[in-house]
């Protein structure tokens, strides 16, 4: 099966610092891939390069076999990649539904239109997306007053607006209460299963990782040190070593604290 | 609570403005004062505009004591335009349509004067540009409705050029603010001097930014050209800086210096005991008049205002006198009658009898040319003489060419 995403020997150096160094992996449709590693391992840099927010020093990112490395974020998005943010990024001065409408409007290439009334545009589609993430009942509230977990769900609705085939999620459950975390991951898994998209997510919460990922990549000091199904990763000695010098307790602790 | 108060206050302001909007122009009636609209830069150039205002107030008091104009008292309505032409236009409209003024006077800055002049032409209102110096006021941009009292840049530059032609200096350097008045002043001086003395040579031209002079650098640049003589047009805050740097660095030693307007009290007094000596300047030597109309004016003004007169005082006084004479001659307050009265109007002002020339609406008011010296810790003009403005204007044919509108 052709992978949706293929990363070849991707590197990003800041001066002498090798934030990401020769990372390669593939991602198949319908697959949920978790990217984990200790703080400073290079997850965010890697993510930013995939999304076009940072240019790679070398290496390639292929989407459906097409080289998209160095493309700006908006072009990557148009090619069918959606993302959510670690610190939620929503439009605080708009209502919830308008946030989603804005994404839809961009998808339909109407963002420069100065004439039509925005209120009526793509409203039903937006409501359907909100329905999907369970936010329909809050559609009319200003985004600025939402609770954190609701912001995360709105963020997800916006990332899904153009029906992406690849979804990048940067720590989707960070800052959420445990019950909310599970709910959000269930929600995401359900959408992935229904729509057949691929998901790449970074995560500190090991429950989320081992409960939902089909495959796990472990990054340390910019390099991939392990790649495999969750069970194998859990047993991997090198991974345990990285997480606080060995011992399953450390990994368990990481899972507890997030 | 506070919030409410201020908002109410603001609402009140708007309402007051709205009320003002609805006000009707005061109908002119017998016994009602004849109003003149005076627009000036009272906040932008108070040092120049305030003595001018006092001069007008003194003249108005005199005129009304003698029975007013056409049997009615004369009144000037003063308004501040902040030195902005756009504001001046609006105020002119207000004065003429709401305040019921019969004509306009004022402005010092030439750009404001030109803006009002253009409006006056269009609306067929009489405008006496009392102080703006630009040659364009009566020549290239001249129009039938605009008259000018003060001797223009060209006239005063010609007076200095005449004096310059009598010296041995051959090479000249000029320094003038980089704006229209400065350019006009240098061009006129060059033109007249070259005509009078073809062998002169201009070896350097310096153009400091208006009120932004870098005096040390300007002095160095002038020194570099080693001229025999220097022609100075800088004024306002630029002048003291230039004089001080020039004196400190010895620029003026052994050189003839000609200073346009530098002898006016407005320019001389701030220099105090550092006023330059030996410059040939145009100005107003109020301190040395004896036994003539000028002396009378000076002592009357000192009594009226409690301070010594400036050049602006004389201009303001002469402005009000001219206006009164014109309306008296017109026998009416209709614009066109006043305009016609101004054409060829003869008025006696402290400096002498002046005429508003029919050919270009310029008055023949002159200026004093003299040499600067120090006296009692202040700069004064000595060896001065009054130059009649009529003698420093181009011949009629040239004037007609310069004035396309008529």
């Amino acid at each position: 099966m052709t992978p949706i995403l293929e990363v070849r020997d991707l590197s990003r150096h800041f001066g002498a610092i090798r934030a990401v160094d020769g990372v390669s992996f593939r991602l198949a449709p319908g697959e949920m891939l978790a990217l984990i590693g200790p703080n400073g391992a290079g997850k965010s840099t890697c993510f930013d390069m995939l999304m076009g927010q940072t240019d790679p020093t070398s290496g390639q990112v292929l989407l459906d076999g097409r080289d998209i490395s160095g493309w700006p974020a908006r072009r990557v998005w148009r090619a069918g990649v959606g993302r959510t943010f670690q610190v939620t990024a929503t439009y605080g001065s708009m209502r919830v539904v308008e946030n989603v409408q804005t994404a839809l409007m961009s998808h339909h290439r109407r963002s420069f239109a100065a004439w039509p009334r925005f209120r009526r545009l793509y409203r039903d589609e937006a409501m359907a997306l909100l329905e999907q993430v369970g936010m329909a009942d809050q559609a009319g509230r200003p985004a600025a007053v939402l609770a954190y977990g609701d912001l995360k769900r709105l963020d997800l609705a916006m990332a899904l607006a153009h029906g992406p085939r690849l979804l990048l999620m940067d720590e989707p459950t960070a800052g959420m209460a445990p019950a909310e975390r599970a709910a959000l991951m269930e929600l995401t898994a359900g959408i992935v299963a229904r729509q057949g998209m691929a998901v790449l997510f970074t995560e500190h919460d090991m429950e989320a990782v081992f409960g939902h990922a089909h495959r796990v990549l472990v990054l340390n000091r910019g390099e991939i040190i392990a790649d495999g199904p969750p069970e194998a990763i859990r047993a991997d000695a090198r991974v345990q070593e990285v997480y606080l010098g060995g011992g399953a307790e450390a990994l368990a602790a990481e899972a507890r604290d997030g | 609570m506070h919030r409410k108060t201020v908002l109410t206050g603001l609402a009140g302001l708007v309402a007051a403005a709205a009320l003002g909007i609805a006000g009707l122009p005061a109908a002119a009636q017998d016994g009602e004062p004849i109003k003149i609209g005076e627009i000036n830069h009272f906040t932008r150039l108070p040092a120049f505009a305030e003595p001018y205002r006092t001069g007008i107030e003194m003249a108005v008091e005199e005129i009304n004591a003698e029975g007013g104009v056409l049997g009615r008292p004369l009144e000037f309505v003063f308004r501040d335009d902040q030195g902005e032409p756009g504001e001046a236009i609006r105020i002119a409209e207000e004065l003429m349509t709401r305040e019921g003024t019969v004509m306009l006077t004022g402005a010092i800055l030439s750009n404001v004067g030109l803006a009002i002049s253009s409006l006056a032409d269009r609306r067929e209102w009489v405008y006496l540009a009392s102080e703006p110096l630009a040659d364009a006021m009566v020549w290239s941009q001249g129009n039938p409705w605009t008259f000018r009292l003060r001797p223009s840049t060209y006239m005063q530059a010609a007076m200095l050029a005449e004096a310059a032609a009598q010296t041995d200096a051959v090479t000249y350097a000029t320094i003038a603010p980089n704006y229209a008045y400065g350019k006009d002043a240098v061009a006129a001086f060059k033109e007249v001097l070259t005509e009078l003395k073809p062998e002169v040579e201009f070896v350097a031209e310096q153009w400091p930014a208006l009120f932004g002079i870098d005096a040390g650098a300007e002095v160095q640049a002038l020194e570099r050209a080693k001229p025999d003589a220097i022609y100075n047009v800088t004024f306002g805050p630029d002048l003291p800086k230039f004089v001080r740097e020039g004196t400190t660095r010895g620029l003026f030693e052994g050189r003839e210096v000609f200073g346009l307007l530098s002898g006016e009290p407005e320019y001389m007094e701030p220099l105090g005991d550092e006023a330059p000596e030996g410059w040939t300047v145009t100005g107003y030597p109020w301190y040395d008049f004896e036994g003539d109309a000028n002396a009378e004016f000076v002592s009357a003004y000192q009594e009226f205002a409690g301070e010594s007169p400036k050049n602006g005082s004389l201009v303001g006084y002469s402005t009000a006198k001219s206006v009164a004479a014109a309306i008296e001659k017109a026998g009416s307050t209709e614009s066109d009658a006043i305009r016609q009265a101004f054409e060829g109007l003869e008025v006696a002002v402290p400096a002498g009898d002046i005429t508003y020339r029919e050919i270009d609406n310029q008055s023949t008011l002159g200026a004093w040319v003299g040499t600067t010296a120090l006296r009692d810790g202040g700069g004064v003009m000595v060896d001065w003489s009054y130059k009649n403005g009529a003698d420093y204007l181009p011949d009629d044919e040239t004037v007609q060419e310069l004035r396309p509108s008529e």
Partner: protein, 624 residues
């Protein structure tokens, strides 16, 4: 050789006062993030206070003592302003504080006039330093050498304060990371007050130090302000070494410019500024702004919705009353209303840029004056009919905005603002000094409307149609996809990019649109006045619009034109009285303190409290 050395020394001497004023401005910005428009006023106060003290204190000790004392006095005045006014508005929207500092400018202008009178004061000379020293045969004033010696001393003292003391640690921390200061548990209030004291003291010191080279006059505040902005921006906002470097650079360049390019002294400075900023958008030694560092503070903006029928009906009725003005008002009211309408359009265009686009421009006069000049030049030089000129004004201004925006949008926040200022000043200096084409400051005169629009009433209707049309169009745009896309780019640029929005292009469109409408207003202006002069391109014109927009309320849709109408009416009313600047200044400061969300914002709050409108969070309001 000797001459060049002497010129270099002149430049270095000039750099002294400039550095002190600029470093103060830079310091204040770095720590408090306030762009202190009133900094020139503190410089002017320093000169006046120094002059007065020198009259009282005798001899050399008195002279130098007076200089130090005026620094102290002005510093205290600055601290007072900070405590009384600015401290109350730190939570207001980004850059809002500059409105308060503008009010301070007006107040200081009138107070200085009242205290020291209208006549320029000639600064006393430094005792014992009246003569010259011959350097390779060239005369160099002794006081110049003293200035050259003093500047590094002040710079070193500042460096010591910042690099070696606890206060300095805090200042640096605040400059680099605001939250860190809060985390350090520092009393931020006193740090800000102290910084204001120091910054203003430096300005006062600069004002007093230049006395022997000039004096004190009432126009100094704006004269120095433009120059200081140039220096601070070239050096990098918040960077003291940058301020030193740029002061020396600009001063030395000026001296040589005076000798070798005497006609273009003004243009030169702004060309250098634009060139440096194109190369390094954050100045020579400035630091790139972290995105969102200056982000919106204060309450988040409320979602907008198209006006309901009661408001529409009210607006329509008000417009009808306004349109009938020629029938019920005085002839002058028609002229005044025309002026106000035109200014409202200008203000509304900037308001759109700031409100929707989040782009604060300090140079919007470039497009207002640019439009006016395009129209005037076409009429005066090419005899084009009014209709064509009126069309060319917005087109020309829009194209200029496209070009300026393309470059300026490389930066963001306050640097973007400064770049726009640089371009506006460049345009102003060009118009001023390229007299052959533009008429210099004699302007372009005799640009009157075509016959059909020549009466004041006819022109009022033209202005009414175009201004109200423009304002309604802007409002419509706010409710259209473009308006939402702009707000998206402003609220969360990363998210906007990650959902396919080309944020920079959107901002460029907004900038060009704002320029276009400002140009239309400028075109209307020139035909209403019959003339145009370079002062329509001056800094103060840009400030007028900026103040109006902030006073009206940035986070509202109607703040621009409401602010414009209130401000123009208030000014028209107040200029009839003596000391109107003092009154207007105090009024502005009062509005700033009482209604930091602007007039419209405050009115909305009042209406809500009075129960006239609903709350902003009706949970299901839009789910229908």
């Amino acid at each position: 050789m000797g001459l060049i050395l002497a010129q270099l020394l002149t430049g270095l001497a000039n750099a002294g006062a400039l550095f002190m004023v600029a470093s103060g401005l830079s310091l204040i910005f770095g720590v408090t993030r306030i762009v202190n428009f009133a900094h020139g006023s503190f410089y002017m106060l320093g000169a006046y206070v120094g002059y007065s003290l020198m009259q009282v204190l005798p001899g050399a000790v008195g002279f130098w003592g007076a200089i130090l004392l005026s620094g102290l006095v002005v510093g205290l005045i600055g601290a007072l302003v900070e405590v009384i006014v600015l401290r109350r508005v730190y939570a207001a929207p980004e850059l809002f504080q500059l409105v308060a500092t503008f009010g301070v400018i007006l107040v200081v202008q009138d107070l200085a006039l009242a205290i020291w009178g209208p006549t320029d004061l000639l600064g006393p000379r430094a005792p014992g330093l009246r003569g010259v020293v011959r350097v390779m045969g060239e005369p160099v004033p002794q006081y110049d050498l003293a200035l050259i010696a003093i500047t590094p001393v002040v710079a070193l003292a500042l460096w010591y304060l910042i690099a070696r003391t606890r206060v300095g640690v805090l200042v640096r921390a605040a400059t680099q990371d605001r939250e860190m200061v809060a985390a350090l548990g520092v009393n931020q209030r006193w740090l800000f007050t102290g910084t204001f004291f120091l910054g203003c003291a430096l300005a006062g010191l600069g004002g007093a130090l230049q006395l022997p080279k000039g004096g004190a006059d009432l126009l100094m505040d704006f004269t120095i302000l433009a120059q200081v902005f140039v220096v601070v921006v070239i050096g990098g906002m918040g960077s003291l070494p940058g301020a030193l470097l740029a002061s020396v650079l600009i001063s030395v360049l000026n001296v040589f410019g005076v000798s070798y390019l005497p006609q273009s002294t003004l243009v030169l400075m702004y060309v250098v500024m634009v060139a440096v900023l194109m190369w390094r958008p954050f100045g020579l030694l400035g630091r790139a702004e972290v995105a969102g560092e200056l982000g919106q503070v204060g309450a988040p903006e409320e979602p907008i919705r198209p006006a309901g029928w009661p408001i529409r009906a009210t607006v329509a009725a008000a417009l009808a009353v306004l349109a009938a003005l020629p029938f019920w008002g005085s002839p002058f009211s028609v002229v005044l209303a025309t002026d106000i309408l035109i200014f409202c359009l200008f203000a509304a265009s900037l308001h759109m840029l700031i409100g929707l686009g989040g782009l604060v421009s300090f140079g919007h006069a470039a497009f207002w004056g640019g439009g006016a000049y395009v129209a005037a030049l076409l009429v005066a030089r090419l005899d084009v009919p009014m209709e064509v000129a009126m069309l060319a004004a917005p087109v020309g201004a829009g194209l200029a905005a496209l070009a300026v925006g393309w470059i300026a949008l490389r930066a963001s926040g306050v640097y973007f603002a400064m770049l726009t200022l640089a371009f506006a000043q460049l345009l102003w200096s060009l118009v001023l000094q390229w007299g052959a084409v533009t008429g210099g400051d004699d302007g372009i005169v005799g640009v009157w409307p075509a016959d059909w629009a020549s009466g004041n009433t006819a022109y009022f209707y033209l202005a009414l149609a175009l201004s109200v049309g423009g304002i309604l169009a802007l409002r419509h745009m706010a409710h259209a996809p473009l308006g939402y896309a702009l707000r998206a780019a402003r609220d969360a640029p990363l998210r906007a990019e990650a959902t396919g929005l080309h944020t920079r292009r959107l901002q460029l469109v907004a900038f060009a649109l704002a320029g276009t409408l400002a140009g239309l207003a400028g075109g209307l202006f020139v035909f209403s006045k019959g003339s145009v002069f370079p002062n329509e391109l001056e800094i103060s014109r840009s400030f007028d619009a900026l103040i109006v927009v902030f006073l009206g309320g940035v986070k509202t849709l109607s703040g621009g034109w409401v602010g414009g109408a209130v401000f123009e009416s208030a000014e028209d009313l107040l200029t009839r009285f003596a000391f109107w600047r003092l009154t207007l200044g105090l009024l502005i400061i009062a509005v700033v303190i009482v209604a930091p969300e602007g007039i419209v914002g405050a009115a909305r709050g009042l209406a809500r409290r009075a129960g006239l409108t609903r709350d902003a969070d009706p949970a299901r309001e839009d789910a229908r």
